[in-house]
C-alpha cells in the first residue's frame, strides 16, 4: 500500500464554479457552470474565463487529444 499524495494548491474560496470536467494543456481546468456554459480556470493565475460554449450538461467530458493513423481492424 502506497501513500504518496502531495498538496499542490488550493483555488478559492470563490463562488461555486460548477463541476470540473477535465484539464487541458496542463494549465486550464474546465467547468460546466450552473447556467450550462463552459468556463475554464487558469491553474497558474486562477483567473476564470468563459469559453463561449453554451448549453452544456454537467456530464460532459473534455480531454487533450492527438489524432493518429493507427488501424484497429484485424
Amino acid at each position: 500500500m502506497k501513500e504518496s499524495w502531495t498538496k499542490l494548491f488550493i483555488i478559492g474560496p470563490l463562488p461555486y464554479l460548477g463541476r470540473p470536467i477535465g484539464i487541458c494543456k496542463n494549465k486550464d481546468i474546465f467547468f460546466v457552470k450552473e447556467d450550462e456554459e463552459l468556463a475554464k480556470c487558469d491553474l497558474s493565475t486562477h483567473t476564470i474565463q468563459e469559453v463561449g460554449i453554451k448549453r452544456m450538461f454537467s456530464r460532459s467530458q473534455i480531454a487533450s487529444y492527438k489524432e493518429s493513423l493507427i488501424s484497429i481492424a484485424e
Binding site: 500500500m1 502506497k2 501513500e3 504518496s4 499524495w5 502531495t6 498538496k7 499542490l8 494548491f9 488550493i10 483555488i11 478559492g12 474560496p13 470563490l14 463562488p15 461555486y16 464554479l17 463541476r19 470540473p20 477535465g22 484539464i23 487541458c24 494543456k25 496542463n26 481546468i29 463552459l38 491553474l43 469559453v51 463561449g52 460554449i53 448549453r55 452544456m56 450538461f57 456530464r59 460532459s60 467530458q61 473534455i62 480531454a63 487533450s64 487529444y65 492527438k66 489524432e67 493518429s68 493513423l69 493507427i70 488501424s71 484497429i72 481492424a73 484485424e74
Partner: protein, 266 residues
C-alpha cells in the same frame, strides 16, 4: 472524406482537445463530439459518431481518454454497447459480448467498464470491466445459489477480439452522490477511485496495469484540512502534468467553495 481531410489539415501538430457535449434538443438529449484547437477555442470541427451510435446518441460516453488517437465509446446499461474507434481514419470495431459469462435467461448482466488502456508489451488495446448479476428477488432466494453470481472481472483484448476472466479481487468504483465515475489513464495503467464493501472506512486509488494485468492500491486521505467528510466532498480524478490529481470541491462559509488539488506522481 471531407471530414478526414479537415481533421488532418487543421489538427496536425497542434494542441487539440476533444469535447463531448451533452445537450437537450427538442426535448431529447443528444451527445455531440467536437475537436477544438486554438488558444480561444476558435477552430471547431464536429465529429460524426461511428455508425453504431448514429441512431441513438443520447448517452454516449468516452471511457478514459484517447490513447494513440483511439477512443473507447460506450453506452451504459444492461448489455452495454462498446465501440473502439479511430475517428481520423473512420475505423471502428464493435466489442463483442462476453464469452466468459453465461447465465440462465432470467439472470441479467450489468457490466461496469473501468478502464481502456494500451499494453505496450503485446502492442494490444484492452478494456477492463466488472460484471455484476441481477435477478428478481424471488428467484434469487428460491432457486439460485448465490455464490455462483459473485461479481467477476474480465478483460478484453483487441488483438484476440475476445474477453477473458481476470482472477483478481479488485475494488470497483466508489459510489457516492458527489463522486462521479471517473477514471484516468497514463503509461499503460488506468486509475479509479474505489471503496471496498468490507472496508468501507477507506477510499483507495485503484491502479490497474494493462501490461502485467495486476493492480495496486494507494490510500487516499479521508479527512482533509478541516475534518471534511469524504462523502460530502465533490471529488474528481484528472491528469495534471504527469501526475494524478485528486480535486476536492469543498463548501466553505457563505456559499464559497475551495478546490483542493492533491497530486501523486505516476
Amino acid at each position: 472524406m471531407y471530414r478526414k481531410r479537415v481533421i488532418s489539415d487543421i489538427f496536425y501538430d497542434y494542441d487539440t482537445y476533444l469535447l463531448l457535449k451533452k445537450t437537450r434538443l427538442n426535448f431529447e438529449i443528444h451527445s455531440f463530439l467536437y475537436l477544438f484547437s486554438g488558444e480561444r477555442f476558435d477552430d471547431k470541427v464536429g465529429l460524426e459518431w461511428p455508425p453504431p451510435f448514429q441512431g441513438d446518441d443520447r448517452d454516449v460516453k468516452i471511457l478514459g481518454s484517447g490513447i494513440n488517437g483511439i477512443l473507447c465509446l460506450y453506452v451504459d446499461g444492461f448489455n452495454s454497447e462498446v465501440v473502439v474507434w479511430n475517428p481520423a481514419i473512420e475505423e471502428f470495431k464493435v466489442i463483442p459480448p462476453s464469452s466468459v459469462v453465461s447465465v440462465p435467461p432470467h439472470v441479467g448482466i450489468v457490466d461496469q467498464l473501468h478502464g481502456f488502456g494500451y499494453d505496450c508489451i503485446r502492442d494490444d488495446y484492452k478494456i477492463v470491466r466488472c460484471v455484476d448479476f441481477h435477478t428478481n428477488l424471488l428467484e434469487m432466494i428460491i432457486t439460485l445459489p448465490k455464490v455462483l453470481y459473485d461479481p467477476l472481472w474480465e478483460i478484453y483484448s483487441l488483438k484476440s477480439n475476445s474477453w477473458r476472466k481476470l482472477d483478481l479481487d479488485m475494488t470497483t468504483f466508489y459510489r457516492s452522490p458527489v463522486c462521479h465515475l471517473e477514471q484516468v489513464y497514463k503509461n499503460g495503467v488506468c486509475h479509479w477511485l474505489g471503496r471496498s464493501e468490507t472496508d468501507t472506512d477507506n477510499v483507495y486509488l485503484v491502479s490497474f496495469d494493462f501490461g502485467n494485468e495486476a493492480f495496486f492500491l494507494t490510500s487516499i486521505p479521508l479527512t482533509m484540512d478541516d475534518n471534511i467528510n469524504f462523502d460530502l466532498v465533490g471529488t474528481h480524478l484528472m491528469m495534471l502534468n504527469e501526475s494524478i490529481a485528486l480535486i476536492s470541491n469543498v463548501m466553505q462559509k457563505h456559499l464559497l467553495f475551495t478546490y483542493q488539488f492533491l497530486v501523486k506522481s505516476v
